[in-house]
């Protein structure tokens, strides 16, 4: 058999695909038709996934920076230097002067091991990963409201819904399989409501398109609830039996009349009323959201508001009905589940909880730190305090907000190690670069957005001297005096299952015969869970949190009169280290652009495809203008993939106070025509 079944490494849908191998080369892809998600199809990234795997730019040997340039060195030399430097920094400045970024691209087993290495060997809880930048507000918000921060339903349930409300998700482009399920539901007669300042592909299938000004989500959600209560469409029986704190919410909603909401959001009051009615009256209502909701200084508030809406209408805890945050990365769900977070061990067991900590201390045979660690942005912002960092498979030098500051901070570190498959913008700043393995070169598991834990299988040997990331962590740990002895990722998963109740029944032999298991899966006989909160919520009662509308931190002014919102394209992935090396994908969008409304462009005298300058309080870029009517006037959009015109030179690093997620979706910019 030369076609090896594995799981796609791009988005959180978790498609099953076969890699076709000749010799030690991956030369093609076949989607799995039996797989419940791929069902014989893939998106353009999946279809072309082989193009980046053995690209000549892959890192093939460890590198050490000497006299400003990189030199190829042996693994031994690299490990010796890292061990020596980390030990020295730890001794001199204490363990909390070290920080680690795990990776939503790497496997569960690798993230678990890196979390173990950080806590048990480095002795700090300073570990985080890019979930902070996408769904930390979901984790915090849904933990408060329901007790568990993940999709309540499964992807295929979407097809059976009779109403689908999509807020801040460009689903067909970013989660193509889920987009396809929405389309199927619409074909079967479901009503689709899209809430987005941009006219996305989904809008073509929608009954209603609400276009709020970016940063005004709490207002329209509260407005919907106001209408639902007023029209008597709330399920008060459910509210009484299964929720708490309703009176406080009710008081808060009083002022959010459709007129008031229209003033804040720009959504016509009739549209808001109609949307509220359709959603509340539905029998099987699926609410889907993504970065448009979470990446705000009010991200947690937005998520809590959506949770309020589902509780008020009893649209949660049933099949085909629920609240569904779409996780972006292939394994961002898994990296969170594995405890690559500053406050949790695997399975969301709190670091601050003494019995939990004692359990891990016993299993890992070491005293563990008690205090909560720093988040991604805090580590970078506190670069004075953090002296050394270990970054696995992340590229904050392009993905953080206000990257000018990030790059300065990373440069000012005493010691930086980056483990990646390409020499990314972040790796270029490193003192030591370690070549990791791509998903095609190692065994392990990924957990998809629907909590489905699935196998990743090794198809070829790592390129050059590169090593599987779990092996690198084990080897380094050994050098630092704490041997991590595992024969295989399977053995790591056995430890995870032992220590992590929600993964309690997840073992490789069970994943082998199926297309994965959905957590919670409590024991070896448990079949996994398709939807959450049946009968009661993870925390017991659903909790209403009354939320006030607060504007975004940086609003348009005379000098910076546009709202900039950022996001991704269909053909590229995040900082483009893989997709921009994939010829088919790169050809579709070889460069960045700023999307703007025709009215705005005409006012400024900007023609379609003309180069413009975009300036914020933090930086400026030169970029091509795409002029049209796909975005509301006053708001502009820039994808963040392109280093030549990096959107994150402009974005605002202000954080949501609870979840510490940056406000990627709103900052103020000025657009200047370039005189020729």
């Amino acid at each position: 058999m030369k076609k090896i079944l594995t799981t796609c490494t791009y988005c959180g849908c978790g498609c099953g695909l076969y890699l076709q191998v000749e010799g030690n080369e991956v030369i093609g892809v076949t989607p799995s038709r039996e797989h419940p998600i791929s069902r014989g199809s893939l998106c353009v990234k999946g279809w072309n996934i082989h193009e980046f795997i053995q690209h000549p730019d892959r890192l093939r040997t460890p590198l050490i920076k000497k006299k400003g340039g990189f030199e190829e060195v042996s693994w031994d030399e690299a490990f010796n230097l890292i061990a020596e430097k980390f030990k020295r920094i730890k001794k001199r400045f204490g363990p909390d002067s070290l920080g680690v970024l795990a990776s939503a691209k790497c496997t569960n087993e690798e993230n678990y091991l890196l979390s173990k290495f950080t806590r048990a060997v480095l002795g700090t809880n300073n570990i985080d990963h890019c979930a902070r930048l996408c769904h930390s507000s979901t984790v915090v918000g849904l933990a408060t409201a329901f007790g568990s921060g993940a999709m309540t339903n499964s992807i295929n349930e979407i097809e059976e819904a009779d109403c689908i409300l999509v807020a801040g998700s460009n689903t067909t482009l970013q989660h193509p399989q889920i987009g396809s399920r929405i389309l199927n539901a619409v074909e079967k007669g479901a009503s689709l409501i899209v809430v987005d300042p941009r006219t996305t592909q989904l809008v073509s299938f929608a009954l209603l398109h609400l276009k709020p000004r970016p940063g005004t989500d709490v207002a329209w959600i509260n407005g919907m609830m106001h209408v639902i209560l007023k029209k008597g469409l709330a399920n008060l029986d459910f509210v009484k039996k299964r929720t708490e704190n309703f009176p406080a919410l009710k008081r808060k909603l009083a002022k959010f009349t459709p007129q008031y909401v229209e003033r804040i959001t720009g959504i016509p009051k009739e549209d808001l009323k109609e949307a509220a009615g359709i959603y509340a009256r539905a029998k099987r209502a699926i609410l889907i959201y993504s970065m448009g909701i979470t990446q705000h200084v009010t991200g947690t508030d937005n998520v809590l508001s959506l949770a309020n809406l589902t509780l008020l209408t009893s649209h949660v805890g049933r099949p085909y009905t629920g609240l569904n945050p779409l996780r972006g990365q292939n394994n961002v769900q898994g990296a969170c589940d594995m405890g690559a977070l500053p406050d949790f061990y695997s399975g969301y067991q709190k670091v601050s909880n003494a019995p939990c900590r004692r359990k891990f201390e016993r299993a890992w045979n070491v005293k563990l730190p008690q205090n909560k660690g720093l988040t991604i942005i805090e580590m970078v912002r506190e670069a004075g305090r953090i002296k050394g960092m270990y970054i696995m498979g992340e590229n904050p030098a392009l993905s953080d907000p206000d990257i000018t500051h990030t790059v300065e901070a990373l440069k000012s570190l005493d010691f930086l190690v980056v483990q990646d498959i390409f020499l990314t913008e972040t790796a270029q700043l490193a003192d030591v670069v370690l070549p990791g393995a791509s998903f095609a070169e190692k065994d392990g598991s990924f957990t998809s957005t629907e909590r489905r834990v699935q196998r990743v299988r090794k198809s070829i040997n790592p390129v050059g001297e590169a090593k599987a990331d779990w092996e690198i962590i084990c080897d380094l740990s050994k050098k630092m005096g704490y041997p991590l002895n595992y024969e295989s990722p399977e053995e790591v998963m056995e430890e995870i299952a032992l220590l992590t109740p929600i993964y309690g029944g997840i073992y490789y032999d069970r994943l082998e015969k199926t297309f994965g298991l959905q957590w919670p899966c409590w024991n070896k006989k448990h079949p996994g869970t398709t939807f959450l909160h049946r009968g009661s919520f993870s925390r017991g009662k659903g909790h209403f949190t009354p939320i006030d509308y607060k504007p975004a931190k940086e609003l348009p002014s005379k000098k910076y009169s546009f709202i900039l919102t950022t996001g991704r394209l269909y053909y590229h992935w995040h900082t483009g280290s893989m997709t921009r090396r994939s010829s088919t994908l790169h050809r579709e969008y070889p460069e960045g652009f700023i999307e703007m409304n025709l009215q705005d462009a005409q006012r400024l005298g900007i023609k379609n495809k003309e180069m413009v300058r975009v300036i914020s309080r933090r930086g400026k870029i030169t970029i091509q203008a795409l002029v049209g009517e796909l975005i509301i006037p006053g708001t502009v959009f820039i994808p963040f993939h392109f280093k030549e015109a990096a959107a994150n030179l402009l974005t605002n690093p202000v954080l949501d106070p609870k979840a510490k997620i940056p406000e990627y979706k709103v900052c103020a910019v000025r657009i200047e025509r370039i005189e020729r």
Partner: protein, 347 residues
């Protein structure tokens, strides 16, 4: 030519014997239970009661990703045409594709025309000429199959090397080429001549299979209406709105032959030129170097795709650009459905 009988109980022994002298590519079961064409290691890998595979065996002739030549300084080295997923170098063993469906084989016949259009493509024909095709006709058309309308199935009349028809406990074996005849002669002890009754049974089986098709379209009528510009533009717009630009319809299509050429720099003054599958639904497919795109709108690209398959290709190659396999229906994330589009046009 005389027809033969192969008892099913002799099929695996035959494949075992063939496997000693040929590299056999056959439908095998992948880990997820999917049936895919792949080189076999043992005759027991072969699965012959399958609905059609997710992808046609096109990639064994036209790989998704292959190196054509490499260069170092001013020296150029032609890359040998590789086997595309085989376990041994192509030249050392001849190949048999065992169990290919008539629609997919028709796709290969179509590709033959394209790859000999301006000149014979060495990479394609080295693989093509090195391969013998043993077809397995279809007694049970699937939901989206419409090969009967396309004239590419469920059984073929000619063009194949060998074609098998399932007669329950035995296969009815037809020879269609000199290569096929030689193979049967070499292994004649596995076969016996078909009787007159079996000949009749074969004809009945074919007729029965043909009666089972749910999908029927009129390629000629569709082509005529399209040529006469009788198709409303709104149809293409409706399709464009659904298309998610995954390229899947081209990738799974047995007749899609388009490729892109890319250069990969592997070192100082070193690199390789590669060929990758391409799709006419991508904007980069028609975009010029200066940025101008004659088919900028997705509507125009989708329209052109259907015109190419249903109008231009029949004119150019004398064959429809669609073999009725129905794969694009399964793979499309936007539920674009070739037969449904044709019905729409036929209205």
């Amino acid at each position: 030519m005389r027809d033969w009988i192969l008892y099913k109980e002799h099929t695996f022994p035959l494949i075992r014997r063939l496997n000693k002298h040929f590299e056999i590519i056959a439908p095998v079961e992948g880990k997820g239970g999917d049936i895919v064409f792949d080189p076999i290691t043992s005759e027991h890998d072969v699965v012959l009661d399958f609905t059609n595979t997710i992808m046609p065996p096109k990639r064994f002739f036209f790989p998704q990703f292959e190196t054509l030549f490499s260069w170092k300084g001013k020296e150029f080295t032609l890359a040998p045409p590789r086997g595309a997923g085989l376990t041994v170098p192509l030249k050392t063993k001849r190949r048999i594709i065992f169990g290919i469906r008539p629609c997919d084989f028709s796709g290969i016949l179509f590709l033959d025309g394209y790859y000999a259009l301006a000149y014979e493509d060495n990479y394609y024909f080295t693989r093509r000429n090195n391969t013998l095709f043993i077809l397995l006709g279809c007694n049970e058309p699937q939901e989206h199959c419409f090969c009967l309308s396309a004239g590419t199935g469920p059984f073929l009349k000619r063009g194949f090397d060998i074609q098998l028809t399932d007669l329950k406990d035995r296969y009815y074996v037809q020879i269609g080429s000199r290569k096929g005849k030689e193979l049967i002669e070499r292994y004649d002890y596995f076969f016996r001549p078909a009787s007159r009754e079996e000949k009749e049974e074969n004809i009945q089986t074919v007729r029965e299979a043909e009666r089972k098709f749910k999908e029927e379209v009129d390629f000629d009528l569709v082509a005529k209406k399209m040529e006469n510009e009788e198709v409303p533009e709104s149809l293409w717009q409706e399709l464009a709105v659904r298309c998610q630009n995954c390229g899947g319809c081209s990738y799974v299509c047995p007749t899609c032959f388009c490729f892109n050429l890319i250069d990969r720099v592997t070192g100082k003054e070193e690199g390789k030129r590669m060929r990758t599958w391409d799709s006419c639904t991508f904007s980069g497919y028609t975009r010029m170097a200066g940025g101008y795109n004659p088919r900028e709108e997705k509507k125009d690209r989708v329209k052109r795709r259907f015109y190419h398959k249903l109008v231009y290709e029949p004119q150019q190659f004398g064959m429809h650009g669609c073999v009725g396999c129905g794969r694009c229906v399964t793979t499309c994330l936007g539920n674009i459905n070739m037969p449904r589009v044709m019905h729409e046009i036929m209205k």
